[in-house]
């Protein structure tokens, strides 16, 4: 039986100094899962990456009131599905503009493309107070 049931709920100030901490939580989840049979170190890097990108995105593009605001992150594993939700409290952005690969010489706008590449599903939807970026990976 697949018994990796994990629920993590984090709120941190929307400052880039916390990216490392959040990324490491993703890495540690990948290394600790009991029943994952895939490439554990690749999963660790990928979870570090998507959490870093999603949080940086929430800080840089979506928040409107500066560093007093928080970023809210939920990580859940239920029935072999890893679901990460990153909430922001800002105006949001058009995700479709960033889903495809950028020209190699572009300096910005690769984050969403990278998330889409390493995860199985990505959704960006409106909430009462902002938006939520939902990222799903099947842990087969």
């Amino acid at each position: 039986m697949f018994s990796d049931q994990i629920a993590v709920d984090i709120k941190v100030p929307n400052q880039t100094r916390y990216l490392c901490m959040i990324g490491h939580i993703g890495e540690n989840i990948a290394r600790t899962l009991k029943h994952y049979t895939g490439d554990r170190e690749k999963l660790a890097y990928d979870l570090n990456l998507v959490l870093t990108e999603a949080m940086a995105n929430a800080i840089q593009h979506a928040s409107i009131d500066g560093p007093s605001k928080e970023v809210h992150i939920e990580i859940n594993i239920i029935s072999k599905r890893l679901i990460i939700k990153v909430y922001d409290f800002g105006k949001g952005f058009d995700i479709d503009k960033y889903i495809h690969p950028r020209h190699p010489l572009e300096e910005h706008g690769r984050g969403i493309y990278l998330i889409r590449t390493v995860m199985d599903e990505i959704n960006y939807t409106k909430t009462d107070s902002g938006h939520v970026l939902e990222m799903i990976k099947n842990l087969n």
Partner: protein
């Protein structure tokens, strides 16, 4: 960010002494590279040996350095890429943009030919 800068004549060697190159410190790297360009030092080798994690912002800083060096008739080359960092360059097709060397001497030597 912890960064060591060493002028080796034909090129300047920038050794990034951080485990992560991300949205928290990539701005510092861009600033340091711009200072070098302003001093007329347009040939750079960036050593990423210590870096085990890079995000889109870190890649963007290196692209910025590459474009600035190229526009000044110089070049920015890379060395010391760990396996997973190298995968990030491949995922974004940046391995076709940068010259990537296995070791520092090879990268520095390429400027003397």
């Amino acid at each position: 960010m912890n960064l060591h800068i060493d002028d080796r004549g034909a090129a300047v060697l920038l050794t990034i002494e951080e485990e992560r190159l991300d949205a928290h410190n990539s701005g510092d790297l861009k600033t340091q590279m711009l200072k070098l360009f302003e001093e007329g030092k347009n040939n750079l080798v960036v050593d990423l040996q210590a870096v085990r994690f890079v995000d889109s912002s870190g890649l963007g800083a290196l692209v910025s350095g590459f474009k600035n060096a190229s526009s000044r008739n110089g070049s920015l080359k890379l060395t010391g890429l760990q396996l997973q960092v190298k995968s990030m360059f491949e995922l974004t097709r940046l391995h076709r943009v940068f010259e990537i060397f296995n070791d520092i001497d090879e990268a520095l030597g390429s400027f003397q030919q």
